[in-house]
């Protein structure tokens, strides 16, 4: 009998801390933290740069239950250094993914909120992210689904944007952003003409939740409510597939078609228009239920 008291309605995923996302996503009181804050496993690389540590090094990991199924879970705290990945943070995530191969939970849930490599520990962070990618794919190959949830203020960028797209499925809210180079990084290096990172509407048309859903980069678009993320996670657990030649060939075809169809487009709105959506300029203004109805027949092949 699943624990229905685990459902909390009306809690914004976007506003929540990494810790409260876990407690409201999982079944009540089921979360058991691994390497909790009392262990004081912090980064040794920050003191010399005048940066305070966090007792979790910006990521909370552990086990719990989702609709009575055992899961392993990791939640990145965007508020701490933008959720960026350093040596300790990365090792916690890699260790969790490797633990899954032994423990065989129903799924691994990754609550992703990160700017990518933590520059204060740049080399260690880059290698760590590569280790996460390898571990994630090994976990999937062992038959354990890995689901990514995206929806906080800091988005999911850098190497973690690549990690995200290695997951079986991604669940995102409208507020969520998913990409590789952050708009501000592109603006700083290529100039404001290339990307005006202060133009919020432009940013969301480019890397935001609704656009990613339309492109087929994410499988689920949900309301900004932890309960909605929970429902979507439960639904997606059994849709997971290990890598196969067939699935990668399908993905290859879809990505080639996407480039062929939209490679000349300069703005999300041009893409939505080409997809055959009437009044594409209205899409950013719609609430999620209306949006999902309007775009139902236009969403590109789910990958």
């Amino acid at each position: 009998m699943s624990d229905l008291s685990g459902i909390h309605r009306g809690h914004s995923y976007y506003e929540a801390t990494a810790r409260s996302r876990i407690s409201k996503l999982l079944d009540s009181n089921s979360f058991r933290e691994l390497l909790g804050p009392a262990e004081r496993i912090t980064s040794p690389h920050l003191e010399s740069l005048g940066q305070p540590c966090s007792f979790n090094d910006g990521i909370i990991i552990g086990s719990g239950r989702l609709n009575d199924l055992p899961v392993l879970i990791a939640s990145q705290e965007g508020g701490f250094m933008g959720g960026a990945v350093g040596e300790v943070h990365g090792a916690k995530l890699t260790g969790l993914l490797e633990r899954a191969v032994d423990e065989r939970p129903a799924a691994v849930l990754l609550l992703l909120e990160s700017g990518g490599v933590r520059l204060h520990e740049a080399n260690a962070g880059l290698i760590a992210i590569s280790e996460v990618i390898r571990a994630l794919l090994v976990t999937r190959d062992a038959g354990i689904p890995v689901l990514g949830l995206i929806g906080g203020a800091y988005g999911c960028f850098g190497g973690m944007g690549i990690v995200a797209r290695c997951c079986d499925a991604l669940i995102i809210n409208e507020e969520g952003r998913l990409g590789l180079s952050g708009p501000d990084v592109i603006e700083t290096t290529m100039g404001v003409e290339e990307f005006d990172s202060t133009d919020r509407a432009l940013v969301w048309r480019t890397v935001g939740g609704k656009h990613r859903y339309l492109l087929g980069e994410v499988q689920c678009l949900v309301e900004d409510d932890i309960a909605a993320f929970r429902v979507a996670a439960i639904e997606n657990i059994d849709k997971a597939q290990p890598l196969s030649l067939e699935s990668l060939q399908q993905e290859h075809l879809a990505l080639s078609q996407r480039l062929a169809n939209y490679g000349q487009c300069q703005d999300g709105i041009n893409i939505w228009e080409k997809m055959g959506i009437d009044d594409p300029q209205e899409l950013p203004l719609m609430n999620i239920p209306s949006f999902l109805v309007v775009v139902e027949n236009h969403v590109q092949g789910k990958l």
């Binding site: 801390t17 810790r19 804050p37 940066q51 305070p52 540590c53 007792f55 508020g79």
Partner: protein
């Protein structure tokens, strides 16, 4: 970075065993507060790591205030601070303490 240590004689015995509590986030203007039940021979000890240097006196004042409200014995408070204002520090300490007291087993 500055590392400060404060100690008070705790006067209130803890009822039952509380679980480690953590509130807050280490970001600019914010802080992380962790409360633990530790055998300190009745003391309340507070460790502060902060990126805002030179505010030892203000920390003392804030903590004096806090201890006047909750003077728990055998309590270890650990803080990672990203330059929060005294008001935010007070808020987090109170939040942490409320949660901590709820966890008694």
């Amino acid at each position: 970075m500055e590392h400060l240590k404060f100690e008070f004689k705790g006067s209130v015995r803890q009822q039952g065993c509380q679980q480690t509590t953590l509130v807050g986030v280490v970001s600019s203007g914010n802080l992380e507060v962790m409360l633990e039940n530790v055998d300190l021979d009745g003391l309340c000890r507070i460790n502060v790591s902060t990126s805002a240097q030179g505010f030892a006196e203000i920390w003392q004042a804030v903590l004096n205030d806090f201890v006047a409200r909750y003077n728990l014995a055998d309590l270890q408070i650990s803080i990672n601070d990203g330059g929060a204002t005294p008001a935010v520090v007070c808020l987090r300490l109170d939040q942490a303490m409320e949660e901590y007291l709820e966890t008694s087993t």
